[in-house]
């Protein structure tokens, strides 16, 4: 399967717009009562992560945190299957078993979103070992939030990456908040690249309001990682909305929010494309409209898709062809029926 990569500023704009439109539809899905649960974490404001996803290549792999829709779309996800999964439907990416926080796609190298803060970070170490041992030239990228900077496994993983010179990148999408906790209330020191550098990583921070800046930094870091020089990239962004769908962010001021939303990577990219003459307003409008139409389609698809059959709950606990869990009804039947016979 081929993934979009290294596509240029206009294509990155389009991707960012698709992400935003997608996330807006996720919000609608929830309001329509169509999502599986309310643990939906929108990545609006963090679209400049496309600067890194677009610097990756076909065959590269990655893991994400719970706020990973944007990253996944950036690597080529099918919005229909994503939205269906978020709705808990049978033809979602994970057959309605994973949902928003546990989406994956082996074909696109998505080794899994994770609902455990920091839970997927160390998996890229293993992927890196595979690529190193086989000399494939692939890299693996762990995407996570600023909250994961407080998880010990991140440091264990960074140490291994540096020690073994693995083709991996740690990407911290710093949206300034872990739930209601602003980063200055969770971090003894806010210089995250310094932490990574102290473990021997190639570390940098990029302005998450400027996708092209992110992309420039990311491109260099990806090349280095491919040569066995692992990296750490902090993308400095702002979480436009609440933590999850229920959260109205009472712990921050409207002024702060308004200011944070000024750092909008989409608005900035649009302005830049226009200013540099790289695109005309009409063209950008068409891109925007197309993204909206596409994601409306994904929403409709998800709402219309069938729910998984009850019996599917026993599938995929273990691999096909190996002993499956015994349904409780079978056990009860055996006990009570046999017992009656004795």
């Amino acid at each position: 399967m081929t993934v979009v990569s290294n596509t240029g500023p206009l294509a990155r704009y389009r991707m960012m717009r698709r992400i935003r439109s997608f996330e807006e539809r996720v919000g609608e899905l929830f309001l329509k009562g169509g999502s599986a649960g309310s643990m939906l974490h929108l990545s609006i404001g963090e679209e400049a992560v496309v600067g890194l996803t677009d610097a990756m290549r076909d065959g590269d792999s990655f893991t994400t945190h719970h706020r990973g829709h944007g990253v996944f779309l950036g690597r080529g996800a099918d919005p229909n299957r994503m939205m269906a999964e978020i709705a808990g439907k049978q033809d979602g990416y994970c057959r309605g078993k994973g949902g928003s926080m546990h989406i994956a796609d082996r074909a696109l190298g998505h080794l899994g979103a994770n609902a455990i803060v920091g839970g997927g970070i160390s998996h890229v170490i293993g992927a890196g070992l595979t690529y190193r041992n086989r000399g494939t030239g692939q890299i693996s990228v762990a995407f996570f939030g600023d909250g994961a900077m407080s998880q010990g496994i991140l440091y264990e993983s960074m140490n291994m990456a540096a020690l073994w010179q693995l083709p991996v990148i740690f990407c911290c999408i710093n949206n300034q908040y872990g739930m209601g906790t602003r980063v200055d209330r969770s971090a003894g020191s806010r210089d995250f690249p310094a932490r990574a550098a102290a473990f021997g990583l190639n570390a940098a921070r990029a302005d998450g309001a400027e996708v092209e800046t992110v992309h420039d930094t990311a491109r260099a870091m990806v090349s280095a990682a491919r040569e066995g020089r692992p990296g750490f990239l902090e993308i400095d962004a702002y979480r436009f909305f609440g933590h999850a769908r229920m959260d109205k962010s009472p712990y921050r001021t409207p002024e702060e929010e308004a200011e944070g939303r000024q750092r909008d990577p989409l608005a900035r990219a649009r302005a830049r494309l226009l200013a540099e003459g790289a695109a005309e307003a009409a063209e950008l409008d068409r891109i925007d409209a197309a993204a909206g139409t596409e994601m409306d389609g994904a929403l409709d698809h998800a709402l219309a898709a069938p729910a998984p059959a009850l019996s599917t709950m026993f599938q995929d606990v273990y691999a096909p062809g190996t002993p499956a869990p015994r349904p409780q009804a079978d056990r009860l039947r055996a006990v009570l029926a046999e017992e009656a016979r004795a």
């Binding site: 609902a115 010990g152 496994i153 971090a187 026993f314 009860l332 006990v335 009570l336």
Partner: protein
């Protein structure tokens, strides 16, 4: 006696506990400004200040470890693990440190802390936010373990936990926070370590705890319509647990079912069933039956999630079968 919610009862217990003892502190992710992921600690940081209601970084092992050190040196911390599912990161601190310190150090250093957490299904929160992991805690000597199923217990078990000299794990249920019920701050439902009979009956005993208490009570009501009288015992304190009342009841009725929301294999239900099998053998008319969650991770789809754990219907049908030998339709 006032009507309130399970959430409010816990919050009140924290407030009363903190007012009664200046050494009580709360610590955990989002317990302060945010007021707790499920709103349990709302406003407490304003009442008690940031040095007693401590918002922590997302560092589960160190949160528990810090609580241990605080307990060892004289505070009485209530550490919150936002979801019991995160215990996997912190079991070393829970099981190797908190639980074993008193013993390893020959009785010198106790760890009087409370670990508040919540578990269970019901919110489509998927495989990593819906588990029932009490079996890990029960299998750890040195811990105490309580799981309130009623509003009154939500208050009193926490107050009682705050007076224990050893680490107590309190597992709440995310599906019960909005449940209403009667709170009598003067009168606990039962003493520490005692099960409570929530309904009496002559035909069989249903032993359960936490949210399954309510499915079991609902089932018992329907069973009564069919002329079957189920006794429902709320285990509530899984450790310490006085087994005598369970044994008496099961010997009296000759039939027993243990109901849990956890994956049934290796569950607390297995353990209780094994104990009753030992101590009630000659009195049993039927095998002690376990009813639990399916042995699968919790799926996100609301329908699959619901279908994977016991319901009042399942408890009812199985109990009826056990007592009357009338097999339910799904058993065909």
């Amino acid at each position: 006696m006032t009507e309130t919610t399970y959430r409010e009862a816990i919050r009140q217990a924290l407030i009363d506990g903190m007012e009664a003892d200046a050494d009580v502190i709360l610590m955990g992710e989002e317990v302060g400004l945010y007021g707790g992921a499920y709103g349990v600690t709302k406003g407490l940081i304003d009442m008690f200040g940031a040095s007693r209601v401590i918002d922590t970084p997302i560092s589960e092992p160190a949160i528990i470890g810090a609580a241990i050190g605080a307990a060892m040196t004289g505070l009485r911390p209530v550490a919150e693990l936002m979801y019991v599912d995160f215990a996997g990161m912190a079991m070393d601190q829970i099981a190797n440190q908190a639980a074993k310190s008193r013993y390893m150090f020959g009785g010198q250093i106790g760890v009087p802390m409370v670990l508040r957490t919540q578990g269970g299904t019901g919110r489509s929160a998927a495989a990593q936010h819906s588990q029932s992991l009490e079996a890990w805690m029960l299998h750890t000597p040195g811990l105490r373990l309580v799981m309130p199923g009623t509003v009154n217990d939500a208050y009193h078990l926490l107050r009682q936990a705050l007076r224990q000299p050893d680490p107590v794990v309190v597992i709440e249920h995310k599906g019960l926070y909005t449940m209403k019920g009667q709170l009598d701050v003067a009168t606990p439902d039962g003493a520490w370590g005692q099960p409570v009979t929530r309904r009496t009956g002559r035909d069989l005993v249903i032993l359960t705890y936490s949210r399954m208490l309510h499915e079991s009570l609902a089932a018992a009501d329907r069973l009564a319509q069919a002329g079957v009288e189920a006794e429902v015992i709320d285990l509530r304190c899984l450790n310490p647990l006085d087994e005598a009342p369970l044994i008496e009841a099961v010997r009296r009725t000759g039939r027993a079912m243990v109901v849990t929301e956890a994956a049934v294999t290796g569950s607390v239900a297995s353990d209780i069933a094994a104990r009753l099998g030992e101590s009630c053998f000659d009195w049993l008319e039927e095998p002690v039956l376990r009813l639990g969650g399916e042995d699968i991770p919790i799926p996100v789809s609301p329908a699959l999630e619901k279908g994977s754990i016991p319901s009042a219907d399942l408890v009812h049908d199985t109990a009826l079968w056990l007592v009357t030998r009338k097999a339910p339709p799904w058993a065909a």
